[in-house]
């Protein structure tokens, strides 16, 4: 039997701050487990509170943060065994990342295209600059950009949305089998959001890429996720089939989250005059 694409087994991450005298412990990720099957590419969504450990969990899956306890297997291989530079490059060509803040995603002193070329040279068979440029252009076209628009530009000359699309294109250069996307659409417009989300769908359905999608946008989560987990204070409070969970959440926090979702349809329902300003959520 083929091993799973990804196994997260009872993973914990504890941050300690301060020295010996005043030690503060922050249990950022608390006993999280899930698996992604190898033969069934899916969009696996993580939603939850701000600061509930989603980014930390993503860091552990990307092998850039070491779990305090528990283990993570990628294609049956413990991430802790991936040490040498060659092994790491190989791992990264299979597992790629998209980050949260497009304004900080590229070095402000450097041109953005260098990351695309570097990825093309390190992760693919492209050896000549021309081949890398073609590869980069191809990836940029998947996100509605072209190399001509991007080449030679510095990050501060591009909008947040453009930067984020370049970042996604950069991750796509190596044709990875798993992409970890940490709030990839929070900074781009509704229509482009659908471009990216549909792109994720296409990656999953046509290229067999699995995607771990971290977001605060429950509507897009509903739209593309196959499965989903909801996190609060480091714990998974609820998980399962995305549509079932979002349609009828069970845990009190999930219910609260579901109710706080603003929706276009509710905005003018019955013109509820006098509903006024709600009490501020604390």
């Amino acid at each position: 039997m083929r091993p799973n694409l990804l196994d997260v087994e009872n993973v914990n991450k504890i941050f300690t701050r301060g020295g010996l005298v005043s030690r503060r412990v922050n249990h950022a990720v608390n006993d999280v487990s899930f698996s992604l099957a190898a033969d069934k590419p899916e969009v696996f969504t993580i939603i939850g509170e701000s600061g509930s450990g989603k980014t930390t969990l993503a860091g552990m899956i990307l092998n850039s943060v070491a779990p305090t306890t528990g283990r993570i297997l990628f294609q049956g291989r413990d991430l802790r065994e991936i040490r040498s530079r060659g092994a790491r490059l190989d791992f990264m060509s299979h597992v790629q990342a998209i980050f949260q803040n497009p304004f900080d995603a590229f070095n402000p002193l450097k041109r953005v295209d260098r990351y695309l070329f570097s990825a093309a040279q390190r992760f693919t068979e492209c050896r000549t600059p021309k081949a890398s440029a073609e590869r980069a252009d191809e990836a940029l076209h998947k996100v509605g950009l072209s190399l001509a628009e991007v080449q030679g530009r510095y990050p501060h000359e591009m909008s947040g949305g453009q930067l984020q699309r370049v970042a996604i294109a950069r991750a796509l250069v190596s044709n990875p089998s798993l992409i970890v996307a940490d709030e990839p659409v929070s900074m781009i417009d509704a229509s482009l959001r659908m471009t990216v989300i549909n792109l994720f769908k296409k990656l999953r359905d046509e290229l067999g890429v699995s995607i771990i999608y971290i977001t605060h946008d429950l509507a897009t989560a509903y739209y593309i996720s196959d499965r989903l987990i909801i996190m609060q204070k480091g714990r998974v409070v609820e998980g399962g089939d995305a549509r079932t969970v979002l349609a009828a959440p069970q845990h009190p926090y999930s219910i609260k989250l579901r109710q706080a979702v603003l929706s276009v349809d509710d905005a003018w329902r019955d013109d509820r005059v006098g509903a006024g300003v709600p009490a501020v959520a604390t």
Partner: protein
């Protein structure tokens, strides 16, 4: 082009920078004069000794029969070169240690920083004197430069490390990692540009510091006194009890020149510090971050 614009702005808006630059340029010009010296630097009794400043010998001559002005051109050249070589070598060490330690973190950081801290606390002067007594004749100018450089990088390495540590947490560093860039490439191409301005300013301070060391050691005779340096000149003047015998020009001019250099470099360093101030720098980068 960009650097030129920065230079122009600095000159126009920053008085300290302008004064500092003028002072350093004067000193450098004097050092350059050495190439046109009519007398070889090591030769003695080439001119009549003990002549006060005059038309023929604008800064007078020494008791050893050397022209003070031309001797000074060699001395300041060697001293300046010493400062620059030491600063250059020690910058390389502090950049390497600071950037790698800050980027790698973990045990690499712990080891490098404990070495670093050792160098911060070792008493520098006794060590140098000790080396002199051990090596004696082998203590050439180049040897001294290397030893001083080895002792002079630690403080700035810590500064560079703290910047590298904050750069490591930025998302663009992770972007670079996930683009398959190697540690060397990330450190050299992604992070180095951020610390370069600071390196420039610490360079000035480091030149000053190493010249101070060299002058002090030479004055006391703990160096190779045959290479003409500012300290060496003062050493010989003392040997001939120049001040007592009224040959003040032998001591005064080297001292004035080295003070000029100190002040010039110091002004350059502080004006650059002002420029490097992260707040104004950020606005120059046009970033919102």
């Amino acid at each position: 082009m960009n650097t030129l614009r920065i230079l122009r702005d600095l000159l126009r808006y920053n008085g300290e920078f302008a004064i500092g630059l003028v002072l350093v340029l004067i000193v450098a010009a004097i050092a350059l004069c050495s190439f046109f010296s009519p007398y070889p630097p090591m030769d003695v009794y080439v001119v009549p000794p003990d002549i006060p400043p005059s038309w023929e010998h604008p800064l007078g001559t020494t008791s050893r029969g050397q022209d003070v002005f031309w001797q000074l051109t060699f001395a300041i050249r060697n001293t300046l070169l010493f400062g620059i070589v030491v600063a250059f070598l020690s910058r390389i060490i502090s950049l390497a240690v600071g950037l790698i330690s800050g980027y790698k973190g973990g045990w690499v950081d712990r080891i490098l920083m404990s070495i670093n801290d050792t160098f911060v606390v070792v008493p520098l002067f006794p060590i140098l004197v000790l080396f002199y007594f051990i090596m004696r004749d082998e203590m050439t100018w180049a040897m001294l430069a290397i030893i001083t450089a080895l002792l002079g990088w630690a403080y700035d390495a810590r500064l560079i490390r703290s910047i590298a540590m904050s750069l490591r947490t930025r998302e663009f560093t992770r972007q670079a990692v996930f683009s398959g860039m190697s540690t060397g490439k990330i450190v050299l191409q992604e992070h180095l540009p951020f610390v370069l301005p600071i390196v420039f300013s610490t360079t000035m301070n480091n030149i000053n510091w190493s010249i101070g060391i060299e002058v002090t050691l030479s004055v006391l005779g703990f160096t190779d006194i045959n290479t003409p340096t500012i300290g060496g000149m003062i050493y010989w003047a003392n040997q001939h009890t120049a001040l007592v015998s009224g040959i003040w020009w032998w001591v005064t001019f080297p001292v004035l020149l080295v003070i000029m250099l100190f002040i010039g470099l110091f002004l350059l360093a502080i004006s650059m510090n002002e420029y490097i101030d992260p707040r104004s720098r950020l606005s120059r980068l046009g970033g919102q971050a």
